[in-house]
């Protein structure tokens, strides 16, 4: 039987069979030293000698680095010369090298799924480094279990499916823009979906960028225009992703285009309607520091530069009365205002997805001690950006919101909301550099007589040119106070004061300021939550999206076919965001460029004869990979579970099946129980040590 399967019968032909080891089974056992990582604790030659006595083991070898080229060649040669048909490798974690060994075995003509890895490093030598003898015994037990299991492994074939050569990019900030441009330039069709009426995201709100003090709009706006005009990009602004179906390579995405109540094709962006509109609305782009109208253009650099009516404020839309107001309709010469617009649903078929939904800025009113929300001259760093920006509410003049005068003294307070177990434990990674930049802008705009203090506890200037930027700030007479205030108070007139213990001078200082700027951290937005649920993307403890591997797969989402870009994966600055976005684009190109992909065969399979149609697996599956299908033979109302292989991630939750009809390939009860039996086998086979 084993021989027949190796000769190329697909596992689909015999989906459920009770695996039985045949007398033809010839196992090769390879024990890796991993330098001294394993051999420094575990007696590898002892383990190898032990394995020789286990049943059906034909060859046992130990070697310093099994993963090296000579190590792999040793296995391949043995497969040929000793006619091995099962391979057990006792080495590091399968997360590290399982794929390496599968490829090696495949090249020697053996089915790659007939390899089993026993983890002697993460499971033995590292955790038990103080007890080498016991570690060696544990290694033997694991090898014994592995041998019991490897006999019962089934050869599996990888399925190939064709893919859609188009990509959905969710979020039109700098990350989404960069990913879209890279994908579009590589020839892929890109659908760029942005919730706001304009693309640009957070970067569009910034005044200057550290450490070069480039004007943010000057470097961003050309990219916004490029992406909107690119022939391979379909720009969907004022739109939200509302539904996701399908699987890697073949996603079906539903996008809702919310009505602008303005015809995008007709609007010329002249703002006549804005001037005519009588309803004042807080300006979200300016962080509510100024007011715009119920019909407005999102920002001065908006792309597309098209007006949008805010249905929450527009008198006609609020009252649902067609005779109310209508001043914008009269003012518009292009006849672009259209109050009859309805939400529109767009169905997209895409092969891959880049999630780049960005983040929110921490709401400092949660921290009573800093007085944000109580004192108008305590502002957040993002509000400072708008105040300092030439297109902002003050035309770029740094003025205190309390009295409208330029401040004589400004204090920056670092780590607001971050590095704080009450709120967010992580470092926001940008707060220090943002405050350095803002302090330098204050010095440049308000001159040498204004006092500038930065209250910090660790100043982190980690990037290229950042430390030099910090030095420049100190050279400019910006004072760095090593200590964070506990309580910001108002003097009763237009200024604020607080005490701070300065650890550099060992003194309690009292500081007065006309303006306090809080270095608020970046926090996961509601969109991270919403989009995460739609795509079944996992999130890490900090609330941002979880990458597939923190070091080796930082661009991949936990779900196949989805890449992550920008701050939605974790706080980062513009250079890092742009790099990650380009990387995420390349990951998608890598996935889709050949037009088809190979799917891992370790999936669930259903025995239809045992399935009772109870739907437990359907309810449990987090990847929507179970479909309940009518079975013609089973009677009119009978349903049977069917696994959509491309969507199944092989997690095994569906094994909760009460009738045992569903199992994961290579993890059948008999395969797992053989391992359990071996674990508890007191008397081991032929000469194995007794304990």
């Amino acid at each position: 039987l084993t021989q027949r399967i190796i000769e190329g019968h697909s596992p689909q032909a015999i989906p459920i069979m009770v695996p039985v080891a045949s007398s033809m089974t010839r196992i090769g056992v390879y024990v890796c030293h991993c330098g001294l990582n394993i051999a420094g604790v575990v007696d590898v030659s002892n383990v190898a000698d032990y394995a020789k006595a286990l049943p059906d083991v034909a060859v046992v070898k130990h070697y310093p680095y099994m993963c090296s080229e000579p190590g792999q060649r040793m296995i391949q040669d043995d497969i040929r010369t000793h006619k091995l048909n099962r391979i057990l490798i006792a080495t590091c974690s399968p997360r590290m090298h399982e794929e390496t060994f599968r490829r090696a075995v495949d090249r020697a003509g053996l089915n790659p799924y007939l390899v089993e890895i026993v983890n002697l490093r993460e499971h033995v030598s590292w955790p038990h480094s103080g007890e080498p003898e016991k570690a060696t015994e544990k290694a033997k037990a694991l090898v014994r279990m592995g041998v019991a299991r490897v006999k019962l492994l089934q050869p599996l074939e990888r399925q190939r499916v064709s893919v859609e050569k188009s990509v959905l990019v969710v979020g039109g900030g700098i990350a989404g823009i960069q990913a879209s441009l890279d994908l579009a330039n590589a020839g892929f069709k890109v659908y760029l979906v942005e919730k706001s009426p304009s693309i640009g995201g957070r970067m569009a709100q910034l005044d200057k960028t550290f450490p070069t003090l480039d004007c943010s709009a000057c470097i961003l706006t050309p990219k916004m225009v490029d992406v909107a005009r690119h022939q391979n990009v379909v720009l969907l602004t004022n739109s939200e992703v509302v539904g996701v179906k399908g699987f890697v390579g073949n996603y079906e995405v539903t996008v809702r285009k919310n009505p602008r109540f303005v015809d995008e094709a007709k609007c010329v962006g002249c703002e006549l309607c804005v001037k005519a509109c009588p309803v004042k609305v807080p300006d979200k782009f300016n962080e509510n520091l100024s007011q715009t109208r119920a019909v407005s253009i999102y920002s001065p650099h908006a792309v597309p530069k098209v007006a949008t009516v805010n249905p929450n404020y527009c008198l006609r839309l609020k009252t649902k009365n067609k005779t109310v107001c209508g001043k914008c309709v009269q003012a518009c010469e292009a006849k672009a205002i259209d109050f009859d617009q309805e939400p529109e649903t767009v169905a997209l078929k895409v092969g891959g997805v880049v999630i780049a939904v960005g983040s929110d800025v921490f709401d400092a009113s949660k921290m009573f001690e800093f007085g944000y929300g109580r004192f108008p001259n305590v502002i957040s760093n993002i509000e400072f950006e708008r105040i300092s920006d030439a297109s902002g509410p003050t035309g770029g003049k740094i003025l205190s919101p309390k009295n409208g005068k330029p401040p004589n003294s400004i204090i920056f307070v670092q780590c607001v909301g971050s590095r704080d177990k009450r709120f967010h434990e992580y470092c926001c990674r940008v707060g220090c550099m943002v405050s350095l930049k803002q302090a330098i802008l204050v010095r440049e705009k308000l001159g040498k007589d204004v006092s500038i203090y930065v209250c910090y506890n660790d100043l982190r200037a980690f990037g290229k040119g950042y430390e030099e930027f910090y030095r420049r700030a100190r050279d400019m007479g910006i004072n760095f106070v090593a200590g964070i205030p506990s309580d910001i108070r108002s003097t009763g007139d237009d200024s604020l004061y607080f005490d701070v213990f300065e650890s550099g001078t060992n003194k309690l200082l009292e500081l007065h300021a006309d303006l306090v700027v809080l270095a608020n951290c970046l926090v996961p937005s509601d969109d991270v939550n919403k989009i995460g649920k739609l795509f079944h993307a996992l999130r890490s403890a900090d609330g941002f999206f979880l990458e597939a591997h923190p070091k080796l797969r930082p661009l991949d989402c936990s779900v196949a076919g989805i890449s992550l870009a920008g701050v939605c994966q974790g706080p980062k600055d513009i250079p890092d965001t742009v790099s990650q976005a380009s990387g995420a684009a390349v990951k998608v190109i890598d996935l889709l460029s050949s037009g088809e992909i190979e799917l891992e065969p370790l999936k669930a399979v259903v025995d239809k004869d045992l399935c009772s149609g109870c739907r437990i697996c359907d309810a449990l599956c987090p990847f929507l990979a179970i479909e309940m299908k009518k079975e013609p033979k089973a009677g009119p109302e009978e349903l049977r579970a069917e696994v959509i292989e491309a969507m199944c991630q092989g997690c095994g939750l569906c094994s909760a099946c009460p009738t045992g009809a569903i199992k994961i390939q290579q993890y059948s009860s008999s395969q797992v129980l053989a391992q359990v039996d071996a674990a508890f086998a007191r008397a081991t086979a032929k000469g194995g040590t007794r304990r």
Partner: protein, 169 residues
């Protein structure tokens, strides 16, 4: 003024800070980021509790008055280790010397040893007096018995210039 030292109710003296900055030719020699390496290796720390980083930082904030009248600035042994080892090429040494200058300008009390050194320089051109040496075998030597040449006192013109400089402060 925006900053107060609540322990002594001192305010920064920006006028004096500006004069120190002029002496240091800019901020570079006080461009401290508080690694505190200078204090970790300070020769005068263990016996005399000199903490160069504190002095550096206080001058940075403008708190110079208390320092200029304190004894602590006179404890620096001028070993110059802090200059050699500062990762930011700052120099508490230069800041301390500038503070000493300020103290003399203000006619603050200068430790006796320094005044003695001044008179030595006037007398023989050296900061230290010429001393006799006693060996392990309890033999005494001086320059004459070792046949070393006599140290000539400084020229009168030097004394005149030195006195003039002292008067000008």
């Amino acid at each position: 003024l925006t900053i107060t030292d609540l322990m002594s109710m001192a305010k920064p003296n920006l006028e004096s800070q500006k004069r120190i900055l002029a002496k240091l030719q800019g901020r570079e020699l006080m461009n401290c980021f508080l690694c505190i390496k200078c204090t970790s290796g300070c020769t005068a720390l263990k016996l005399l509790e000199l903490k160069p980083h504190e002095i550096e930082k206080l001058v940075n904030f403008g708190f110079v008055d208390e320092l200029a009248s304190s004894d602590i600035i006179w404890t620096c042994a001028t070993c110059l280790k802090c200059i050699q080892r500062c990762p930011q090429k700052a120099s508490p040494y230069h800041v301390i010397i500038a503070l000493r200058n300020l103290a003399v300008e203000r006619e603050a009390k200068v430790p006796e040893a320094y005044m003695k050194a001044v008179s030595q320089i006037l007398e023989n051109g050296l900061a230290e007096s010429i001393q006799k040496v006693t060996t392990k075998k309890m033999e005494n030597f001086d320059r004459e018995s070792l046949k070393l040449p006599k140290v000539k006192g400084p020229k009168e013109s030097f004394q005149a210039i030195f006195m003039k400089a002292l008067e000008e402060k």
